[in-house]
């Protein structure tokens, strides 16, 4: 039985402050706090300000038969939430939500076609709360596709009941001036299986706290992410998996490519394994491919282990440039340098995308990566011929 508790230092959990709906419990950050030290506070400023309720994004999509979706008062969303906000942006999102949205996928419903919603920003400041219940043994895929421009604070809660199988896909395809911050909390029921896919491709600043916890033993969550960060862009994914039940599994794999002056990515991979969480398995991985000078990739994996009786726990983080040997191998077969780079980056993302297991989404993301590659193609080529 591997016992890693002795081998790995247990640290005081200063990364997960007590969640609260009370904005006063989340003082205005100075940038020196652990959870804010990587974040662009200036860009996020509108999302940190208290004020009157705001409108939301323009939502469009088709609801399959049997799935219920309705507006609810913000207070009801707070009651239905899995947990209160963990940071000020999420607290403001909740406080400034006008009408909240509640969605319910009934128990045992099997919805084969992905439920796709496109949320478009209209250049305004916006705040929203969304709570979705996936009933026992239901099966569904929910795709949220963000586009347009907004200063958007969001608080989402996805409760996945026992035995359900759910895919959650977020595509951040914002316009270049959009700012999006918030919190996504997923609760994984007994023996439930959840897969989340987070693609961040556009926007000026994105900062999302993604939190996962379990409502019983035997649950599994896989979280995949891809991001493409361009000059002047900030993309921050703050992952936290709370292994609060035995025999649960988590696997987090986020990959990003950065190019252009001031491109900044942040990935925090926190895992807490509580005393009760016997025989759990967890692995977290983050890989960053730095395509040009002037980029910054911060990557902080972090394990806190309170029991030694686990099946496996690990993490890895790599940040680097192109592997010369990969390029050499491809070029030695006649493939030009540009094409070789394109293949390597494509492969880097495809390696994640192929594991999604939802063909429609795989194709969509592959097409998105293709589009991003076309955008970066010229400048990486210039770079390499220096």
């Amino acid at each position: 039985m591997p016992n890693v508790a002795g081998a790995i230092e247990t640290i005081e959990s200063h990364l997960h402050p007590e969640p609260s709906f009370d904005v006063a419990k989340h003082p205005m950050p100075t940038g020196r706090e652990e959870i804010w030290r990587f974040s662009p506070l200036k860009a996020l400023r509108p999302l940190l300000a208290e004020g009157a309720p705001l409108g939301g994004l323009d939502w469009a999509g088709e609801l399959p038969a049997g799935v219920e979706m309705r507006k609810v008062p913000a207070a009801e969303a707070r009651e239905r939430a899995i947990e209160p906000p963990v940071d000020r942006v999420a607290a403001i999102a909740s406080q400034r939500t006008g009408d909240a949205v509640y969605m319910n996928v009934p128990a045992e419903a099997v919805i084969d076609e992905p439920i796709v919603f496109t949320a478009t920003g209209t250049g305004q400041q916006a705040a929203e709360s969304l709570v979705v219940d996936f009933g026992r043994h239901s099966r569904a895929t929910l795709v949220l596709h963000f586009q347009g421009s907004a200063q958007y604070a969001s608080k989402y809660d996805f409760r996945v009941a026992d035995g359900a199988e759910v895919n959650l896909v977020y595509v951040n395809d914002w316009d270049g001036d959009a700012v999006h911050g918030g919190q996504i909390t997923v609760e994984v029921g007994r023996d439930a299986r959840v897969r989340t896919i987070h693609a961040s491709l556009g926007g000026k600043a994105i900062r999302i706290a993604e939190r996962a916890m379990f409502a019983g033993p035997g649950g599994e969550i896989e979280q995949f992410g891809i991001y493409f960060v361009e000059g002047g862009q900030h993309v921050e994914h703050r992952m936290f998996v709370d292994h609060n039940a035995p025999h649960t599994k988590s696997n987090v794999d986020y990959r990003g490519a950065l190019q252009g002056h001031g491109a900044h990515s942040v990935w925090i991979g926190d895992v807490l394994i509580r005393k009760v969480a016997l025989q759990i398995e967890t692995y977290e991985s983050n890989k960053n491919l730095v395509l040009t000078d002037g980029c910054q990739a911060d990557s902080v994996p972090n394990l806190e282990i309170e029991t030694g009786e686990i099946a496996g726990a690990g993490h890895s983080s790599t940040t680097g440039r192109f592997d010369d040997n990969q390029l050499f191998y491809l070029m030695s077969r006649g493939i030009t340098e540009d094409e070789a780079r394109r293949l390597v980056v494509h492969g880097f993302f495809n390696d994640i995308i192929r594991r999604i297991g939802v063909p429609a989404i795989e194709q969509k993301l592959l097409a998105q990566v293709e589009r991003e590659l076309e955008l970066v193609h010229g400048s990486t080529a210039t770079k390499d011929h220096e």
Partner: protein
Amino acid sequence: MSTLVISDLHVDVLTEEGNKPILKGVNLTVRPGEIHAIMGPNGSGKSTLAYAIAGHPKYEITRGSVTLDGVELTELSVDERARAGLFLAMQYPVEVPGVSVANFLRTAKTALDGVAPKVRTWVKDVEGALGRMQLDKTFSARSVNEGFSGGEKKRHEIAQLELLNPKAAILDETDSGLDIDALKIVSEGVNRYSAQGDRAVVLITHYTRILRYIEPTFVHVFVDGRIVAEGGKELAENLEATGYEQYVKAAANA
């Protein structure tokens, strides 16, 4: 017709401590249809010869030339050398995660020919080349070299040799790490390629074992960055019996 001519080749390896000379004047002419075995002890510079000719950025050619059918390769980039007809089967083929064998082979073929291969014949060609190396159909969906066994990596290299059919091939320790069955399969592939009659083959090896299956036209003993002895296949048989020691000593005293 494919002639590979290596003349007075001097090569440094680039390290953090500076340049270190490895090849100290290599001369070798490989005529069409010939197979030249280059044999030498570990650290003699055999692999450096292979990588330097292919253009690996870690090596710098300080003097000499390499021509293929009169084209000076040392002035070309890695991909241009390949398009000039050079192929290197690597000792340690590199993993390229997320890039399928099928995509890799098609991209390489397109780059070499300047046009995409015809879909119908190409799929058959790929299946044929993989099949002859006893790699099954599912192989083309796997990521290049990722999770391949040692034998699969080498068979994949030789499948590429047959499929891309270059003018000249350098095989860098293709036999190392192969069991006897895989060695036979790989050798048959090299023999089929060479049997076309107009291709040049340089077979770099540490062991004589592969020469039981591939008959070399010439054998060269490579020690301390240069060729120190040449002969027919009987030279390999002598090496089998006596080892490299006499050559290493002679080179040290020279």
